[in-house]
Assembly symmetry: C2
Homo-oligomer: 242 residues x 2
Amino acid sequence: MKLMTPPELEAALRDIGARRYHRLHPFHELLHGGQCSKGQVQAWALNRYYYQATIPAKDASLIARCDDAATRREWRSRLVDHDGEREGEGGIARWLKLTDGLGLDRDYVMSLRGLLPATRFAVEAYVHFVREKTLLEAIASSLTELFSPQIISERIDGMLKSYKFVTAETLAYFSQRPPLAERDSRFALDYVKRHARTPGEQQQVLAALVFKCDVLWAMLDALYHAYVAPGQIPPGAFIPED
Amino acid sequence: MKLMTPPELEAALRDIGARRYHRLHPFHELLHGGQCSKGQVQAWALNRYYYQATIPAKDASLIARCDDAATRREWRSRLVDHDGEREGEGGIARWLKLTDGLGLDRDYVMSLRGLLPATRFAVEAYVHFVREKTLLEAIASSLTELFSPQIISERIDGMLKSYKFVTAETLAYFSQRPPLAERDSRFALDYVKRHARTPGEQQQVLAALVFKCDVLWAMLDALYHAYVAPGQIPPGAFIPED
């Protein structure tokens, strides 16, 4: 292992995204290509809700481990983005507008009763990773945001065009995200480029991004298995009406 | 919620097993019915290795939280069963005889490089559950052992009959397990029947068993998705030769 320059490290990170980010997953092709049934879109939104709702706890764990006020302050903006300034605002509330718009009962969504266990395990793996690994690795694991503006624009275009049951209003979550994701990922990328100073630390940073790509990928694998093919829904999970 | 008698609690636990234990999973039907390719059996053994190898850490976490020497002593026998008295003995070593017998490279298996991320997330969810929930819930989550003697006998019979690449020697792990599982599950069942003294505690015990069934089920869902149908192997995971 040799020490990479910061631009080389960035290139290696972007290469991981190009090969492993969930934009490449077959479920996303179906979702964005308009080939999902309403029930499949519901299952996706219901499961992804748990990810959205858990992100602030993940971010708070990260802040809790940080001994530098500037980094804590910067990271705090993520809490604001997700939880909002007051009831009904923020990313989680906007996600619930999506599940509302898809006809899912809000109490049912928030109860997590219909969640795929694999979703729960993947999301909690992310929380535990951030809690237990080094701060550098915790920050690096957020770097999937580098690749999200592209997937979000594809998603908005594809879903609005293809699904009568989806409106611009229900997709408000996504229209708000790209500038926030760009700001956040710029900070995190700059942080890892400055703080990964040994070959070992650089490898940890790369592995953290691979881990996070695996989390997102595993969530879509589970959706595909349960709701597309072979369509084996695990005991207790959400059963679409269609 | 009303308080169940101990026999009613036991019946409710057995009912969960009858509905949610992974013996009912389609992957097990294929595996025991002789319908798996060698590569699919390899993928199963490789992924399940991580579960086996992680169990002693799970059990040690449980012992670490126990303030009663008798319970610690009883639970310690699980460490002995899995780790053995010396190198080459115990359940993990016997599991590696299975992966050896299936033609997998031992270093590759132990490196975990080919693991499905979903396997890792499910197994680690179990470890975290035992570490973070109450001792009662931690003990209750082991109760899938109540149902394992039956699955193991089906597995030995079905695999020996169906697969030329499987021998009684490579299945040594399974021939040793049933009496140990019976002893362990008898202790754990007796423990939860004695210690779950409120309706709330009884519901926690039931939920812990549901959780553990979900862990085992999710592991097979991931195998099925990657190696049976649609056969979408996640980036980086084991690729069978056949």
